[in-house]
Amino acid sequence: MDDFLTVIALIISLNAVVCLYRAAIGPTAQDRLLGVNIVGTKTLVVVILVTFIQAEGFFLDVAIVYTLLLFVVTVALSRYLEAEGWEEM
């Protein structure tokens, strides 16, 4: 089962790299933000998988904090972009 979970974690990590491609080329700032947000979700899942591969319960607390941090970062950045748009108008 551990090998299986490791393979899943690797596939998701490769997925995250592909999402970084969108974050790199994205024509607008919102595209980049979306790409980074998705990479964050994938990282969260990889952290949860690592919890069960290593059988270390405390990684789950890391995952909870990571979710909250990701949420705050995305909302704060999109509010920032919104405010910038207003200034230009």
């Binding site: 919102q30 998705i38 994938k42 319960g57 909250l68 509010r79």
Partner: protein, 108 residues
């Protein structure tokens, strides 16, 4: 043994939806359309992987924490999608439209 198989099936479904979400993120034409794969496929992918891990861990305290994480993911991805969409709308990004006359709605 049965537990492992069910957990593995959930993990496979989750990985499939992650792959679909990534494909959508690359293929879709504009920000608003890209919000769909990111808010739906990624949420379901993450949630079904979390459910798979919950089945794998069985009855333990980890289960409660996993449920909390799943609720956070559901709430935060919807709100993040909303926030990004709103900033795109206020940033005057035009919504991509199909050229009229070429396709009639549903496609085949």
């Amino acid at each position: 043994m049965v537990q492992d198989i069910v957990a593995g099936a959930f993990c496979c479904v989750g990985t499939f939806f992650f792959l679909v979400g990534t494909t959508g993120l690359i293929r879709m034409p504009d920000v608003f359309s890209r919000l769909h794969p990111s808010t739906k496929c990624d949420t379901l992918g993450a949630c079904s992987l979390i459910v798979g891990m919950a089945v794998y861990s069985g009855w333990s305290w980890e289960l409660l924490k996993l449920i909390i994480i799943a609720c956070f993911v559901l709430l935060s991805s919807a709100t993040c999608g909303h926030a990004i969409g709103r900033s795109a709308l206020r940033g005057d990004i035009k919504c991509w439209r199909r050229k009229n006359g070429v396709e009639d709605g549903h496609g085949t």
